[in-house]
């Protein structure tokens, strides 16, 4: 091999080596892009729902009530029967089976929608009003184009008869897409069209709140102690080793801790965001202490010395000068820690926050789910209506994480002092 050939070979290998790096980075980026694309393409349709225009004649005779009904009488009105009569008029048929199929095009909750509307607008008595009634999940999926129409009827979720009604309604422009308010306000449900993340969002909110209240003060105080006051001895070393190791312990172990201690020994209520919050706080604590210490360390010693020189005590110099100067760093570390806690699922599974909860929780002591757990629960469900909801929940979750992380980055860049 001549000298030139050898040089050529070495340069070729140089190029190859460099390209491995580029390929690796591109692979990682491709994966992020794929994931985002998949979630966006699948989930965005869940923010709208299909609804059917239904003409309702609020005649007091049809409602089977008096001309000027009192509140009790309104409560007694059978809206199910009332709405049913109008639904059946949409596509008159005498076949009982076909009637059932027609009713199944509407959400199972239609009576509550009508009742709610009626109670909110009491002046509509004896008038004819056109209302948008939420369609069933199957019609919703059909309208969004997720169901194939040309496969045999027995493999379809929607029958030929229902297709016929759908086409007719479409022709009359009675089917439209509206904003899916249920997705943000409702709790979980077995029916995809009325299932929402309202309950799990509140559950997440409560557990993160509990987590913040417990972990932030303790983490800040612990960081102040270790960075400013702790003498260099074996005990301090032991605390530090503990904190570093706890930060790397798998999250599921904290779930076992919550189950074994909080639920079994202290008998706190299962499935609640209080227990979830405490468990998450124990997990987040070391992950907040570490950045808090780093930002305390970044405050130059001259600040402390200046305070001491004008007669402040050690505690005063720390409380009045060091901690306020380190605040941007500690706050952004806390927010990043909380963002991690928000996305955490495994420990919550073990303390029972996977329960099927229809009720929207009112306090941290009510059983609830959380956003990531909701993703887990819905992803196990085979129904087409839940697939888009799972992706949409991921979008909401990622949205919160992006907001929290951007606040953390912004807070640090805007308020942190650069010491030279």
């Amino acid at each position: 091999m001549t000298k030139e050939q050898r040089l050529q070979k070495r340069y070729a290998s140089e190029k190859r080596f460099k390209s491995y790096g580029i390929i690796s980075i591109c692979l990682a980026l491709t994966f992020v892009a794929l994931l985002v694309f998949k979630v966006l393409s699948e989930g965005s349709s869940a923010f709208v729902k299909t609804s059917i225009q239904l003409e309702l004649n609020f005649d007091h005779k049809l409602l089977n009530t008096s001309k000027q009904p009192t509140k009790e009488e309104i409560e007694d009105i059978d809206f199910y029967d009332f709405t049913l009569q109008h639904i059946l008029k949409v596509f008159p048929t005498s076949n009982r089976d076909e009637e059932k199929q027609l009713i199944k095009l509407f959400t199972s909750d239609f009576e509550f929608e009508v009742k709610k509307y009626f109670k909110a607008n009491s002046d509509i008595l004896n008038k004819v009003i056109t209302l948008n009634i939420t369609a069933s999940s199957d019609l919703d999926q059909l309208h969004k184009g997720n169901y194939q129409r040309d496969i045999p009827e027995n493999r379809r979720k929607i029958s030929n008869f229902q297709l016929k009604i759908y086409d007719q309604l479409l022709e009359k422009k009675k089917i439209n897409k509206v904003f899916n308010n249920y997705f943000f306000t409702n709790g979980d449900s077995r029916n995809p069209e009325i299932a929402g993340i309202g309950g799990s969002m509140l559950g997440s909110f409560f557990s993160i709140l509990v987590c913040l209240i417990i972990s932030f003060p303790i983490a800040l105080l612990a960081a102040v102690y270790l960075e400013e006051f702790a003498p260099k001895n074996k005990f301090t070393d032991f605390i530090e080793i503990n904190i570093n190791n706890l930060a790397a312990v798998p999250s599921i172990v904290f779930g076992l801790l919550g189950l074994g201690i909080l639920l079994n020994v202290f008998e706190l209520p299962r499935s609640t965001s209080l227990v979830g919050g405490i468990t998450l706080a124990l997990m987040t604590l070391p992950r907040i202490i570490i950045p808090c210490r780093a930002s305390l360390k970044a405050v130059p010693p001259s600040i402390r010395e200046a305070a001491l020189a004008v007669g402040a005590s050690k505690v005063q110099s720390v409380i009045h000068h060091v901690v306020p100067l380190a605040m941007p760093g500690t706050l952004s570390g806390t927010i990043i820690g909380l963002a991690q806690a928000l996305g955490e699922t495994a420990p919550l599974l073990l303390i029972g926050m996977v329960a099927f909860v229809v009720q929207v929780p009112g306090s941290p002591l009510d059983p609830s789910a959380s956003l990531p757990v909701q993703v887990f629960l819905w992803s196990e469900s085979a129904e087409r209506g839940f697939v888009e909801k799972t992706s949409a929940t991921i979008m909401v979750l990622l949205g919160f994480l992006i907001i929290m992380n951007s606040i953390a980055v912004y807070a640090r860049q805007k308020f942190e002092k650069k010491w030279i």
């Binding site: 790096g21 580029i22 612990a222 790397a248 798998p250 172990v253 002591l365």
Partner: protein, 478 residues
Amino acid sequence: MVRPLPIVRNEKMNLLIIIFIIAFSVTCFFFGKSQIKKIASINQFKPKALPHFYGFYLSLWCALPALLIVLLWTIFEPFIVKYFIISSLEQTSSENSEQLNLTYQKIKSFYLGTFGGSAPDAIKIGAAKYASFISIAQNAKIVLILTTVIGFLLIAFKKIKNNIHAREGVELIFKIVLIVSSVIAILTTAGIIFSLLLESIKFFSQINFFDFLFGLEWSPQKAFVRDASVALTAEQSKELGKAFGAIPLFAGTGFIALIAMSVAVPIGLFSAIYLAEYASPMLRKFGKPVIEILAGIPTVVYGFFAALTVGPLIKGVGDTFGLEVSSESALAAGLVMGVMIIPFVSSLSDDVINAVPQSLREGSYALGATKSETIRQVVLPAALPGIIGSILLAVSRAIGETMIVVMAAGLAANLTINPLDSTTTITTQIVMILVGDQEFTSAKTQAAFALGLTLFAVTLILNFIALRVVNKYREKYD
């Protein structure tokens, strides 16, 4: 018999008490601050600290002991009430301790109004007793807290009158609070070890330790179908002892982690090298955070992606080549987990590579080496211990990862090395056993804690070694 309703629910009571204590101590702050001036002018002395320290002194001595009592009371009250109820039950019935415990739970749920169905009279009487205990406890608590608050207030006030060093007193309390906060990390570790050991010891009293560690068959459902009240025959207990062999789980965990590492190590390492050595400052500033986004995505999202996109994709590809692919293949879980771990490898390796001093590189260039030769033969060997440390950290991450494997890996404990087959992991089994109804006397439930203990021990050792290695070599050349 009518259930006597509690006057105020315990949680609300606590909240009220805490609000009272805080409000009172805030008042004490202003009281102390204004009083010290008066006292000083009457007694003709100069206060030894600024007025607000006297305020703090007073309010801290008011609030802290009382809050501590509330905390301890809330923690220990249930145990004490339980002890009294059970000892009163013991006098009248001949049940063993386990049944007594069950009766106690029934009484409690009847008292809280969550008892389903109609309760027998014994439970109703018990509930009445329980209610009376609770109301006695509640009254006692209020009295105790009032006396502590007022007692400590008087003591502190007397000390203020004697013109003590208020600032030193306040600072001492502050330091104690600091120490207590940092000890919580130790308490958490102790709590983890305690809760894991508590159930694991029960487990190992039924199942031989070596049968667990080296057994080849994992079928915990065998313990579940058994009626707990019937004693085991020798043959059954032998069979049960064989049902908890954790080798298939260890193998599955290791196998999936291996697949993950074979994705994460090359990609992570090469991107770290590229970003540290080749990339322009601009690209570096942009590329590093983008790769770290991968670490910020919740694992449940990866699990969703693995189960609903990657798994079916691999199955589809395998089917076209005529391979038999399980829909819950180890490959899908491993690949996605690998992607999740990339930033853990790349970010730490990047730090370590950057810590290699420039002089080493320049020496190599001076000898005529190309950039890649320098990296391969000089930079990487110098950074190797740190890189190994970061890989160890990533391995511990992979072993402890839960959601991806729960959603994408299988449940059956197969001992296999075929990546297209389904296999299970330690974390999957823990979740499967503990989600849903649990029978805490069953060996199956306790097995989850034994698995957790194993997981904790393994990750602790890995982390410990890795952290030491990384910290040692990160600054070695400075």
